[in-house]
């Protein structure tokens, strides 16, 4: 094995260099390949563009338009888009629909972020504990998640809203709880597989504490699938919040929530359908972009899934 290197010709060295350079390029920056996949991935690209546009509107819009979402102008009600300086028109109180759309997007994003953070943190902890510690801890985790998993989300929210009153908090809790179950299930599944891997066995054999193994060895490995999954549940959270606000359980007036805006506009479909169409498109766009990003992330982070999905044969 050693003899060959001495007799390396210049040809061999040149080729070695080429291979090395190629490998270096691949190795040095694993993100570069992902980035390349990212830009090449049509789903991710479209989703991101749409997402950036919508989120940008939500974040930056109010900087230019002001954030007076409650300001009424009762002489300018039900205006269609592009009228009297209102880009998207006005609602039944003469409030600027564009401003309300921007703030509504913010509310949606904040609620979705809160829900997803709760689901992600609690779900990862529960999933890792259940999957790694096994035994009765696992049984409890599994029972709880199976229990919550099958529950109709809207029903949970209706019941919680009964207990906590209307507002965004019960919505966040209800959707958060159901989403915790989803994340827990996946993380637990990953950890059960990881638990038998050599590096975990080795760490355990050398007396590393359970907590440390989970923190140092398991967490980094379950992070990617959990994040990919979480991106889907952002979409679920957005739709759920909108739905609950629609039936009056979410944001309280005059704070605009996209679902509540659709509900407010429903009486005026004949008069000025934009009042519910604008927020409706807002929700659909937001959800569409998030799920496209989710699909794209899955392709990038979990190529095996992609191959299955796209029909490339394994092996």
């Amino acid at each position: 094995m050693t003899g060959i290197e001495n007799s390396r010709s210049s040809h061999a060295l040149a080729w070695d260099e080429r291979v090395a350079a190629y490998e270096e390029e691949v190795r040095a920056n694993p993100w570069r390949k992902r980035l390349r996949e990212f830009t090449r991935n049509k789903l991710l690209f479209t989703g991101s563009l749409l997402g950036i546009a919508i989120v940008g509107l939500g974040l930056l819009g109010p900087l230019f338009l002001g954030s007076d979402y409650a300001g009424q102008s009762l002489r300018n009600t039900h205006l269609p888009p592009f009228t009297d300086g209102y880009f998207l028109g006005t609602d039944q109180y003469g409030r600027d629909l564009l401003v309300r759309l921007c703030i509504g997007i913010r509310v949606s994003l904040l609620v979705a972020a809160a829900i997803t953070s709760i689901a992600l943190v609690v779900g990862m902890v529960m999933g890792m504990c259940g999957g790694f510690l096994g035994g009765y801890v696992d049984r409890v985790v599994r029972s709880v998640t199976d229990f919550v998993w099958g529950f109709p989300l809207i029903l949970v929210a209706v019941l919680l809203a009964g207990g906590l009153g209307q507002g965004l908090l019960p919505v966040i809790l209800a959707v958060g709880i159901v989403n915790i179950a989803a994340i827990t299930r996946v993380v637990r599944g990953e950890v059960v597989v990881l638990r038998t891997k050599e590096f975990v066995e080795a760490a355990r054999a050398s007396g590393v504490s359970n907590f440390r193994i989970m923190w140092r060895h398991l967490l980094p490995n379950v992070m990617a699938p959990a994040l990919v999954l979480a991106s889907y549940y952002v979409a679920v959270a957005i739709i759920a919040e909108a739905g609950l606000s629609f039936i009056g359980l979410g944001a309280q007036p005059p704070l605009p929530s996209l679902g509540k805006m659709v509900a407010d506009g429903r009486g005026f479909l004949r008069l000025n359908h934009w009042e519910s169409t604008v927020p409706g498109i807002g929700i659909a766009g937001l959800v569409l972009s998030v799920s496209l990003i989710g699909d794209g992330l899955r392709d990038v982070f979990d190529p095996q899934l992609r191959h299955e999905a796209k029909g490339v044969e394994k092996g």
Partner: protein
């Protein structure tokens, strides 16, 4: 069979826990039960007496056991607002809900599965791309907005279908489609990926090597294998339909369990709210169990163990 039996025990436990959760959630919610049952003119003494009569002044755990005792004895009580027996209400509204939910459930699979199959067979064709794009968009459209658009288009503009009401076939179309919409989109995607996974599996290659026709392989082997995971998720679809029914029944004025439940929660009609939540939860839990059992039957690997 052992698997099925242990799932049954688990289902019973889940039902118990749910009943406690539902009971507490509704009892702890604000609002006075007497507001639903008594006139605004009723005196405070009379209200207090009424609460006593309903047992609302007892410790809550005791109320729970009394309540569950009544349910298990087959007499869950009466509504506070109109004194109808809950069992009568269940049979009336439950029938409506079954019609709507059953139709939606049927649509989810009768439309979703064939579309998914078409997409998987014509992979990457325009038909596939069309179906998949539509399902992606369909999943993003919130069903309450869809309901409004559907009413606006088919009831207001075109006048083809009634905008709300019960219970003829024409009244059923809009709410059932709206209720099924997201489920259809999800089922299309799942069927497609499940079909593709099955098509690319080793056993299909074996069957091809055995000289079976593509048609036969697809219809018999690929489909059968692909449908197994879809059956297992039927339980989730039930939960989804039950949940969305709360919104869709309200929008379309369909007098089902969901609409009654929402109304009861709003007016603090405890007996109705508790009983119907419990019924819906039980429906979901039992539905999951049935789907799970179906999965077991469809999948020989779980059916018998060697």
């Amino acid at each position: 069979m052992k698997h099925t039996a242990s799932r049954l025990v688990y289902t019973v436990i889940v039902l118990f826990v749910s009943s406690v959760a539902v009971f507490y959630a509704i009892r702890l919610s604000g609002g006075d039960a007497t507001a639903a049952a008594l006139p605004g003119s009723a005196t405070e003494e009379f209200r207090e007496e009424f609460r006593d009569r309903l047992g609302l002044n007892e410790p809550i755990y005791q109320q729970y056991f009394t309540y569950m005792g009544r349910i298990l004895s087959g007499d869950p009580g009466n509504s506070l607002t109109n004194n109808k027996a809950l069992t009568t209400m269940l049979s009336e509204h439950g029938r409506n809900s079954l019609i709507l939910g059953g139709t939606a459930f049927g649509l989810v699979f009768l439309v979703g599965v064939p579309l998914g199959i078409v997409a998987s067979l014509r992979r990457n064709s325009w038909a596939d791309q069309g179906i998949m794009s539509m399902s992606t968009v369909a999943m993003a459209v919130p069903n309450f907005w869809l309901a409004l658009l559907a009413v606006w288009l088919f009831a207001s503009r075109l006048g083809w279908l009634p905008s709300a009401g019960c219970c003829g076939p024409k009244h059923l179309i809009l709410p059932a489609v709206v209720l099924a919409f997201e489920g259809i989109a999800l089922t299309v995607r799942m069927t497609r990926s499940s079909m593709i996974e099955s098509q690319n599996s080793d056993y299909v290659r074996t069957l091809r090597a055995g000289g079976l026709s593509e048609w036969r392989i697809t219809c018999k082997h690929v489909l059968r294998n692909a449908l197994i995971p879809i059956i297992s998720l039927a339980g989730l679809r039930i939960g989804q339909i039950v949940g969305y029914a709360l919104i869709v029944e309200t929008i379309f004025g369909w007098p089902g369990l969901g609409q009654v439940l929402v109304n009861a929660v709003l007016r603090r009609d405890y007996p109705v709210a508790q009983f119907f939540s419990l019924v819906l939860v039980a429906l979901v839990v039992v539905g999951n169990w049935v789907a799970d059992t179906g999965y077991t039957i469809a999948n020989p690997r779980l059916r018998k163990s060697s």
